[in-house]
């Protein structure tokens, strides 16, 4: 197993994914711009959160990274190996290094198979070990995620949502991956269950040094769990920084509006702070606005934003995709 450069386990370089939209014979082809030039590097043992609203491309990103869908452009580098164009056979061997936990534990486990065989499948596919050894490993994995080893004989429908999500995590752990992509891993769970699963993920990270790409729309949760945060809007990263510096200030107008709009479970705090209420909805990712993609909703937009598409550039300790970020006093408070 070759390591990545500088402790980087997973790298996305300029990832692009366009889906063709059904069109008539004589109409020009139209595309959903799900991802447009997304780049980041995930370091060993860290948690990088991807946040954004629906249509920002965060789930497509997860699928492209896992090669569950083929990216239109760019590269995916896993542990130093470019896996973007690997054939299914070669890819199969490398899959053990990168696993995924999905949002809905009711949909992500096949109801026809026992927990034991669901968790044992990755071991069976990647390692030639006798069945007894496999059963022992499954029992161990179930204990690791806080389930009784006896669950191996049960079926998914006998488990609660939280227990199912633990099974999904155990399946991901079975092949000792370096990276786990967590695609909204708790948003389908009851509030009182979410903390259990988040704590489990954190414990596993501390023990096994796994890096998480943590996709979520829950901003409070993201602030809690991640080391760095990338904010996405319409297929692009608009701001990427340390969670600490994000907490201090936000430089992109969209991140600022997004974090200010999230309701806070504290009546005093919500009375104090000023919310930025954006006008309108997220535009359709089919033929997104030219220039800056956020300009149609941005309270601070200028003429330049329509003409010129801003690049993702370094401002202080972070990356921001805005022409004016970093100018003193920007974004100014709204009256």
């Amino acid at each position: 197993m070759s390591g990545g450069r500088g402790g980087v386990v997973l790298e996305a370089v300029d990832l692009v994914k366009h889906f063709p939209v059904k069109h008539g014979l004589f109409q020009p082809a139209r595309h959903v711009h799900a991802l447009d030039g997304v780049s980041f590097a995930l370091k060993r043992g860290e948690t990088l959160a991807i946040v954004g609203e629906s249509g920002c491309g965060k789930s497509t990103l997860a699928k492209c990274l896992m090669r569950l869908t083929e990216p239109t452009g760019g590269r995916v580098v896993l542990l130093g190996d470019d896996i973007t164009h690997l054939g299914q056979g070669a890819l199969r061997g490398l899959r053990r290094h990168m696993q995924i936990v999905f949002q809905d534990p009711y949909a992500s486990l096949n109801p026809r198979w026992s927990i034991g065989s669901i968790v044992g499948d990755p071991i069976r596919l990647h390692e030639k070990v006798p069945a007894a050894e496999r059963r022992r490993r499954v029992a161990e994995l179930l204990e690791t995620v806080g389930l009784d080893p006896g669950f191996a004989d049960r079926h998914p429908h006998e488990l609660s949502g939280g227990q199912r999500q633990r099974v999904a995590i155990a399946r991901a752990l079975a092949v000792n991956p370096s990276v786990i992509i967590c695609d909204e891993p708790v948003s389908a769970l009851d509030v009182s269950i979410q903390a259990q699963v988040i704590n489990l993920l954190k414990r596993l990270q501390a023990k096994l040094g796994i890096a998480y790409l943590f996709i979520s729309h829950n901003l409070a949760l993201v602030e809690h769990i991640s080391d760095r945060i990338a904010v996405m809007y319409l297929g692009q990263v608009v701001e990427l920084a340390d969670t600490r510096s994000m907490r201090r200030e936000l430089l992109h107008p969209y991140s600022k509006a997004l974090f200010s709009a999230a309701p806070v479970a504290d009546p005093d705090a919500s009375a104090r702070r000023t919310r930025i209420i954006l006008a309108g909805d997220v535009p359709s990712p089919v033929d997104p606005p030219g220039g800056c993609r956020f300009r149609t909703r941005c309270p601070w937009k200028q003429a330049r934003c329509a003409d010129e598409s801003p690049a993702l550039r370094a401002v202080g300790d972070r990356l921001v995709r805005c022409h004016f970020a970093g100018e003193p006093g920007f974004p100014a408070p709204l009256s």
């Binding site: 609203e53 629906s54 609660s160 949502g161 939280g162 227990q163 009851d190 509030v191 009182s192 269950i193 979410q194 903390a195 259990q196 988040i198 704590n199 954190k202 414990r203 729309h217 901003l219 409070a220 949760l221 602030e223 809690h224 769990i225 969670t243 907490r247 509006a257 997004l258 709009a261 999230a262 309701p263 806070v264 479970a265 504290d266 009546p267 705090a269 919500s270 919310r275 209420i277 954006l278 309108g280 909805d281 997220v282």
Partner: protein
């Protein structure tokens, strides 16, 4: 403050092949004029069932309102005749739902769906309706209302659809708006818009609002008073400030902690162990006792009654009651 709605001992049962389920059990509460009350709970807490029961919208079979009184403007909704009930529905009490895509009929125009309410409760003619619909859409902030009125739900975005639902609810200036998870299906920035809209319209028309939600953030930003439900029962009630600053029930405490993640940076969160019990397999005694760190032996024996631990603070928990006395 006089009460718009008074609910007493409401019980809703569902008959299923696996037995009878008490979805809502002995629920009592009141909503004052112009007040926003939040009904908070997780899935299976019975909060949405309770909301539907207020307008007798529970499908029977399998559901049935087994007991209780629902006093609205001095009349018991449960005793109304069918025609009287229909006058209250959509006229005096309006309701909006979680998923505005599913809640609008896909094959009729916006104008027709809002117009229906105006025809029914205000007896408006065709032309008056068309004008009023455009007015209502403008009121809820739908851009280009005249064109939107002629469109179908699938032409609109999620946020716009919820605005249409609100316009429909407001059509007859109801006294009470029941909002069942109105922003759960929406994105954060759109959620902020819709909450803002409900707030401003409420102030303008002096409506009372019953907000059903699982999101404590939404509660903190909008509600005056909070009712916390668990497994079909009310476990705690208080003003929003009281609930958030001084939660008494261990379940409320746990929920609040789970909702304020950003404050526990790096450290482990306090967990509520276990899972919400299945309605077919309710634990004996307090339904929360198997997951409660503070549970006493008697919590597993008998169901704790609601007792005021402070003025206006009923809590259904033996531990909290002992601490208070």
């Amino acid at each position: 403050m006089s009460a718009v709605l008074e609910v007493a001992d409401l019980a809703v049962r569902f008959r299923t092949t696996r037995g009878t389920v008490n979805a809502v059990d002995g629920l009592s509460f009141a909503i004052g004029e112009g007040e926003t009350v939040a009904l908070v709970g997780e899935s299976g807490s019975g909060k949405s069932t309770a909301a539907l029961a207020l307008l007798r919208l529970i499908a029977d079979p399998p559901g049935r309102i087994a007991a209780g009184r629902i006093l609205f403007e001095g009349r018991d909704i449960l005793a109304l005749r069918e025609e009287e009930l229909r006058e209250v529905r959509g006229g005096r009490i309006a309701m909006i739902f979680q998923d505005p895509m599913m809640a609008l009929n896909p094959v009729y125009t916006i104008e027709r769906q809002i117009g229906e309410v105006l025809a029914l409760h205000a007896g408006m003619g065709r032309e008056a309706r068309a004008k009023e619909v455009v007015e209502l859409l403008r009121l809820v902030g739908v851009p280009a209302p005249a064109e939107r009125a002629k469109q179908y739900p699938h032409n609109l975005s999620g946020g716009m659809r919820q605005r249409v639902m609100i316009a429909m609810a407001l059509a007859c200036k109801p006294k009470l708006l029941i909002a069942d998870e109105p922003t759960t299906a929406l994105d954060v920035t759109v959620q902020a818009q819709v909450l803002d809209l409900i707030q401003s319209l409420k102030d303008r028309f002096g409506m009372a609002v019953l907000l059903i939600t699982h999101d404590l953030g939404v509660v903190a930003e909008t509600a005056h008073r909070v009712i916390v439900m668990y497994a079909g029962r009310k476990v705690e009630e208080g003003t929003t400030a009281q609930i958030f600053k001084d939660p008494r029930h261990p379940y409320t405490q746990g929920l609040l902690e789970a909702a304020k993640w950003e404050e526990v940076e790096g450290a482990m969160l306090r967990e509520i162990p276990g899972a919400v019990p299945s309605p077919f397999d309710m634990p004996k005694g307090c339904a929360f006792s198997p997951r409660c760190g503070a549970a006493l032996p008697r919590c597993r024996e008998s169901v704790p009654p609601l007792v005021e631990v402070a003025p206006g603070r009923p809590v259904a928990c033996f531990v909290a009651q002992e601490r208070a006395s």
